[in-house]
Amino acid sequence: MNIFNMTIHELHTALKGKQISSVEATSAMLKRIEAVEPNVGSFITVTPEHALAAAGKADQLIAQGACELLTGIPLAIKDIFLTEGIRTTCGSRILHNFIPPYSATSWEKLCDCGAVLLGKLNQDEFAMGSSNESSAYGTTRNPWDTTCIPGGSSGGSAAAVAARQAIATLGTDTGGSIRQPASHCGCVGLKPTYGRVSRYGVIAYASSLDQVGPLTRDVADCAVMLGALAGHDPKDSTSVDTPVPDYSATLSQGVKGLRIGLPKEYFIDGLDPDVQKAMDAAIDTYRRLGAEFVDISLPHTDYAVATYYLIATAEASSNLARYDGVRFGHRAEADGLLEMYTKSRSEGFGSEVKRRIMLGTYALSSGYYDAYYVKAQKVRTLIMNDFISAFADVDVMLTPVAPTPAFKVGEKINDPLQMYLSDIFTIPVNLAGTCAMSIPAGFSAAGLPIGLQLIGKPFGEETVLQAGFAFEQATEWHTRKATI
């Protein structure tokens, strides 16, 4: 078997059994990256020296008998995670020269497990986008069809898994940025509950919505990654101090008697027929496995996208104020302070980022604050309450991830509203602050992957992973590989 096709579990077995070393595995991955990168463009920065050095260290650990599940596993992470000494751009020109002096907690935790960093992955600029087209470092292509987008904003993270350029990857999800590209690229992507994983060292887009999560080949790998990432971080006041369960241990408990909710607002007329078909088939599968279905309603779903684009942009307008050319990042030549600010930011930010900064600034402006930001917060509370009442009757919810499979590169680039609507099923989960996972659930007639979304209760990742694992055991969608 090709090393680059392996899951974390498979490679771990090979490493532990000394059939292969981490340096060999890492070299194989680097070769694979080199081979397919021209067609995919998943990476902003590949870090072969770091990778081989870390792999060498991992091999020493393995030789000493200390081989944890992630020891020596070659991973790649979205370029939104700060990596000490390694350039971190967040997909933006304004950070083209930014070498962070510290690392994100989430990445540090994986490092502590012995993971190997292959490089930093492409993304929409500052995680603002659903197609990876807003990156300042070129558009990542969907490995299943390189004329299509991989989704976004963690497009590079999903494409790298699908193109087998990394065994697993890290992404972030603010409005669907892990789940939507995972769905489009046919991999597993989990957005944990807000507060489950530390945000420290992750470049902020919308602080009250951002959450770190893994993208993997299968659910079992996802459980391993989440276990390594989760937990309270004293450096992040919003990270929550609740115990981290052993996600792998309870994975195979099955779905017999599991009550699955089908929110009627997510199964709308305009849904792509291939997506609808995949959902129907998934429901059948779960029924066969002994799950029960309950029709539920999340009545404020219609307001989610508008609410999101007020709250997320308001927070972003403030979060992105620090990119002013004074202390780090891109600084334009200028005669005075105001000109330095204006030119640095005009040159450094792309159009989507500028659009959202302006939108957010407007929403927070005196005279508009109550009508926009405050009202959006109120609607957010209503949306949260929708989920709380619905979860009184069900254990998880099953919905599509996106209304359509991956669209063509350039198809929606000039129509921001259409682009925003591609996150219609993922956004409410971020507003509610709960967890959800995308898993492969079929293919369109054109051969593009279709994901299904399992939404869990707050800190209900265990149940979501169990439900995902049961589906995976009963289907073979996740085993299919993009031919690239």
């Binding site: 930014f98 470049i203 902020a204 004293p234 992105l320 620090r322 202390r327």
Partner: protein, 480 residues
């Protein structure tokens, strides 16, 4: 027309915590530029604030000491604006739901009248860094940014517009200054900016109910300047109105060199700070238990202590006020009266000799070389007649210089008072014999000469003769 000034003060109080409000960096003053920084206070991407609990404790203490109610669930907000000394492009502050609200201070105006000045709110916030101009290493005439001060904890204490004169403003400010230094939450150093004040000033015709347009005066960093700036601004606004002009809402800067204020930015140029709750910080929940614990930990405040000095020790108001000027001074006094029962005498010595010596040498009471117990010993030596009050001053000076115990100094220098009647009588006899003319003068009714004889005896005894014994014997002898 007569005008009524209306004044409100916004005071920034820099807190004496060891570390900054949202990170673990040191707050020490005067370190190498940017040496006390980390990703959080540098505003690096990905960095997140974590609230320093000590700051909350200090804020609660300040609130309780100014009669505020403590907000059970208070919120941090972002105040957004661009400036190179503000690394994140926003300042973390509080806007809606600040930690302390609805307080007051009672101040004395015109001697005895007490006036209640409302305190609208006290909120916590981070300080900005500092721009350094000119003195940079490196080429050009650029400016540098020193972020050591960035993220230093501040309280902002906002008063109601209840003040009417510059004197009231200064009285209020001094009282607030006394409280925060008394609590030990601020060093009170106005020159270094640890306690700084902005004043909102407006005028309206006497009898009017409508407040005039106000100007906000920034950068007034001494009590004297506060008085100057407010008085200048009141007059400026009155002159402007009298000349047919109108006062515009603006921010003005006080220039301590000229004693005037000048326009800094108009209302139109004012920032729209776009305040909104900081999503990186969870709401600060303060339990009743926490508030009660803080209340119990509060020291006795200046006002309470003043009252107690008057009620229990019988001190006059003036003495009580002077002796509670600072917590350290009041503590010194209390330590003194613990070792000596005459509170009035201890107080007099502290207000007299001790204060003079401290002022002359520029020493703080905390560093006073004479311990309160030693002062008490000195007073005991006077009480038991070992030394006279006059000699005591000589002993005091020597104690200040050498740090020796008063008993030791008295013995070493032979300063023990002479109360022995025979010895004094001998001296009197000699002096009377040598000054027969003055004896006659006295006896012929010129009683003022008595003082001359006392002086001569004290001189002969080198000041050691017990004055009351001298008086008694002298009177007997002169009367013949």
């Amino acid at each position: 027309m007569k005008y009524q000034p209306v004044i409100g003060l916004e005071v920034h109080v820099q807190l004496l915590t060891d570390t900054k409000i949202f990170c673990g960096c040191s707050t020490k003053f005067g370190a190498e530029p940017n040496s006390q920084t980390c990703p959080v206070c540098l505003g690096l991407p990905g960095a997140l604030p974590v609230l320093n609990k000590k700051v909350v404790e200090f804020a609660i203490k300040a609130g309780l000491s100014t009669n505020c109610s403590i907000t059970p669930r208070s919120i941090f907000a972002r105040k957004n604006y661009f400036y190179p000394d503000l690394p994140k492009g926003y300042q973390i502050s509080q806007f809606e739901d600040p930690i302390c609200q609805h307080g007051w201070l009672d101040i004395a105006v015109d001697g005895d009248t007490v006036k209640r000045i409302g305190i609208t709110r006290i909120h916590m916030e981070e300080d900005a860094g500092k721009l350094v101009h000119g003195e940079l290493s490196g080429p050009g005439d650029g400016s540098g940014v020193d972020l050591n001060r960035a993220c230093t904890p501040l309280l902002e204490v906002v008063s109601e517009p209840d003040l009417r004169t510059s004197d009231e403003a200064v009285t209020y400010l001094k009282q607030l200054h006394q409280i925060v230094t008394w609590l030990g939450i601020c060093d009170g150093n106005m020159e270094e900016g640890s306690f700084r004040c902005d004043a909102n000033v407006s005028v309206m015709p006497v009898g009017s109910n409508t407040l005039g347009t106000r100007a906000e005066i920034k950068n007034v960093n001494s009590f004297k300047f506060v008085k100057q700036a407010i008085e200048y601004e009141i007059q400026r606004q009155i002159d402007l109105i009298e000349d047919g002009g109108t006062v515009v809402q603006e921010t003005r800067l006080f220039d301590p060199n000229s004693g005037t204020t000048r326009s800094m930015r108009s209302k139109e140029e004012a920032h729209d700070y776009r305040y909104f709750p900081d999503p990186d910080l969870v709401p600060l929940v303060i339990s009743d238990e926490w508030i009660n614990r803080s209340r119990q930990e509060l020291p006795e405040l200046p006002e309470q202590r003043r009252q107690r000095f008057m009620d229990e020790l019988g001190l006059p108001l003036y003495d009580a006020e002077v002796l509670t000027a600072s917590r350290a001074l009041a503590d010194y006094f209390e330590a003194g009266i613990a070792a000596h029962s005459n509170a009035k005498a201890v107080g007099n010595w502290i207000m007299g000799e001790i204060t003079r010596a401290l002022n002359d040498s520029g020493t703080a009471i905390e560093a006073c070389p004479i311990a309160p117990g030693q002062l008490a010993e000195l007073l005991t030596l006077i009480d038991n007649g070992t030394i006279s009050g006059k000699i005591a001053k000589t002993v005091f000076d020597e104690m200040w210089r050498s740090g020796k115990a008063p008993q030791v100094i008295v013995e070493e220098q032979g300063l023990v008072q002479v109360s022995d009647g025979d010895a004094i009588e001998r001296m009197i006899d000699e002096i009377m014999a040598a000054n027969a003319g003055q004896v006659d003068e006295y006896r012929s009714g010129k009683e003022k000469v008595f003082g001359f004889f006392v002086g001569q005896v004290m001189k002969a005894s080198k000041g050691k003769a017990n004055p009351s014994v001298v008086n008694e014997l002298l009177l007997g002898k002169l009367k013949g």
